[in-house]
């Protein structure tokens, strides 16, 4: 009798709950590559956030006596054609580059997931109309599309973000739609209808969490590619305008001097590469960590 009571008391204790996020993070901890990616990315983001505090020089300060300076103790990454400190410009430039990557992907994923789940869930005419519109957007390669939009809106950081956002929406719509179509056939959705969940609840609570893992991976990889597209746009003169710093713009400015002063492009290029690489490693790790069945 006592034992039974004890058992009952034990089982009544609120079971320990773990949210999806905590579990995912715990699983990701075991993946070394993903952790390296996460650490590098955190470092880069901290640098971007505290940029003005840690930059040794002002990013606009010119020093015409020390142009094209090779890396030295005073200027670890050297100086550019106007004698500006490249390290300081890189630190300040990270803010523009990262915000282009993160903001445009956040925008593209929110809009894309919304339209994609509507398409996948409701199907029919709505689906056809939205998807044909996406076909139009996708008829041009994303970069060309972004360049077109940027050319129409005029160059600049904000317009660049808008352009990259729009050009990335179709891939999110398509991916979400495919995922949702797949999950829509599942019996647990029928079960959810049978216990009378509303349509919005079914989409938000039952479909999206299950459709999310490929999308999160797409998101991290997308940030990487949009940083590259932003660099390409700046390279073409459509992105961030001088004297503002941005990695791609710096790459573009340094290309004329690549033969005599390769350090001017090397550092910007390598930083872009490391950022993209760490994002990709993180994305790969996330994909594995998001599957609840691989737990532990």
């Amino acid at each position: 009798m006592n034992l039974q009571k004890e058992r009952k008391a034990l089982s009544r204790q609120p079971a320990k709950r773990q949210s999806m996020t905590v579990m995912t993070l715990r699983r990701m901890k075991k993946n070394k590559m993903a952790m390296v990616g996460l650490i590098i990315l955190t470092f880069i983001m901290l640098v971007a956030i505290f940029g003005p505090l840690i930059a040794p020089y002002s990013y606009t300060e010119t020093d015409l006596l020390h142009t094209y300076g090779l890396p030295s103790l005073l200027h670890p990454f050297g100086t550019d054609e106007l004698g500006r400190d490249i390290l300081s410009r890189m630190i300040i430039g990270s803010r523009a580059s990262l915000s282009i990557g993160f903001v445009s992907m956040a925008g593209a994923s929110v809009i894309g997931i919304m339209f994609g789940s509507i398409c996948g869930y409701f199907g029919g005419k709505v689906d056809t109309v939205i998807m044909r519109f996406m076909d139009i957007l996708q008829a041009l390669p994303p970069l060309i599309m972004a360049i077109t939009i940027c050319a129409a809106l005029g160059p600049g950081l904000n317009n660049c973000i808008v352009a990259i956002t729009i050009s990335n929406i179709p891939s999110f719509v398509r991916m979400t739609r495919a995922s949702v179509l797949n999950i829509r056939r599942m019996e647990y959705l029928e079960a959810a209808t049978a216990i009378n969940c509303s349509t919005s609840r079914i989409i938000v609570k039952h479909i999206l969490p299950n459709a999310l893992s490929p999308l999160i991976v797409q998101l991290t990889m997308g940030i990487a590619t949009s940083i590259i597209s932003a660099s390409a746009m700046s390279f073409l003169g459509l992105g961030v305008q001088p004297p503002d710093a941005e990695w791609g713009a710096m790459l573009s400015a340094g290309r004329s001097y690549i033969r005599n002063y390769p350090h001017m492009v090397t550092f910007a290029g390598v930083t872009i590469m490391i950022t993209v690489l760490s994002l990709n490693m993180l994305g790969d790790g996330l994909r594995d960590a998001l599957d609840p069945k691989l737990k532990n």
């Binding site: 079971a15 019996e187 029928e190 049978a194 009378n196 969490p209 299950n210």
Partner: protein, 332 residues
């Protein structure tokens, strides 16, 4: 049927002349063709038939979760406690679905959301139908888990951490969480092995008695019907071909299809080398044969079977059959 003499309110649920079709790529599939049935409170009705006979479609029509399109209810009434579910506005139907009528799904492996904890999935239905706080819903969910024999401290585990039988228990807990008046059990044990089958059916039976729930048990296992039903409806090509009490049907089956079904069950007492199957295949529901839809496979088929419709006849009290072979005065 003699039932019409009784008032519908004697029954918890009455289905009248239900007709459901599926349309896909221009073809029309006649899934359910004029099904009528009645269930009293606390009574169990077995729906028996081959795969594709329309059993699940009937259940989904009652619950109002048929996907439209492609499914369409052409005709009929589904009366639950004096209100026709087919005519109820969406808002009213919400109070019924999951609360008064709930469903146990066939495959527990896919009927649970893999990303939500089992406890949350039970609590969800409570939250949707009763005005309770989250905490109370959680407590209720824990109670339900204990009731189906799962320790409540497994509340926050995910479906993949459970075995098939335990998942089915969770599905049953979800179905019973709001004390429904009618339970639609769609092949609740098909995905489970025999010993677990017995456990699950015993549990459903015990819980049903406790909560005084009626049940429609959909199955193709006549043994399961014998064990747990009061009445049986044999369905063939979307039509009830025979309807009787369990005892009547098992001791005295009359429709050639029912006879064929019993003929294909191996018997323990007699030694036979081969079972006698029903010849032929179930008809293509896109293209049902004229007349009685069973006539191409029926060894007693007569000319009159090939044309016109067959009426429901009462061969003995409360034993109905859809067949020309039986002539009785009481045509209904």
């Amino acid at each position: 049927m003699s039932k019409e003499k009784m008032k519908t309110s004697d029954f918890l649920l009455s289905v009248r002349d239900l007709e459901v079709v599926y349309t896909s790529a221009g073809a029309t599939v006649h899934a359910v063709n004029g099904v009528s049935l009645d269930i009293k409170r606390g009574e169990n009705l077995g729906l028996v038939g081959e795969t594709g006979a329309g059993k699940t479609t009937i259940a989904k029509a009652i619950l109002g979760v048929l996907p439209d399109p492609p499914a369409k209810i052409l005709n009929g009434e589904i009366i639950l406690e004096d209100s026709d579910l087919l005519k109820l506005p969406k808002k009213e139907m919400r109070k019924v679905r999951g609360n008064k009528i709930s469903m146990i799904f066939q495959d527990p492996m896919t009927a649970l959301n893999p990303l939500l904890t089992v406890g949350d999935q039970i609590a969800e239905v409570v939250l949707l139908h009763e005005s309770v706080s989250k905490k109370e819903a959680m407590n209720k969910a824990m109670e339900m888990l204990e009731m189906v024999g799962i320790p409540a401290d497994r509340y926050s585990e995910l479906p993949h951490q459970f075995s098939g039988g335990m998942k089915q228990r969770v599905v049953i807990a979800i179905a019973l969480a709001c004390n429904p008046e009618l339970l639609l059990a769609d092949e609740p044990t098909t995905a489970l092995d025999v010993t677990i089958q017995a456990q699950v059916m015993d549990m459903i039976g015990a819980l049903q008695k406790k909560l005084n729930t009626s049940m429609i048990l959909i199955t193709h296992d006549l043994g399961l019907v014998a064990e747990s039903c009061d009445n049986v409806a044999v369905i063939y090509a979307g039509k009830i071909v025979e309807y009787a009490s369990k005892e009547d049907l098992f001791l005295n089956p009359v429709h050639p299809y029912t006879l064929g079904l019993f003929g294909s069950i191996p018997s323990l007492s007699t030694d036979v080398d081969r079972l006698t199957p029903i010849p032929g295949m179930a008809p293509d529901p896109e293209n049902l044969p004229e007349g009685c839809s069973f006539h191409p496979r029926c060894k007693y088929a007569m000319d009159e079977c090939k044309h016109g419709s067959v009426h429901f006849k009462e061969v003995s009290p409360n034993h109905f059959v859809h067949c020309h072979m039986y002539h009785c005065d009481k045509e209904v």
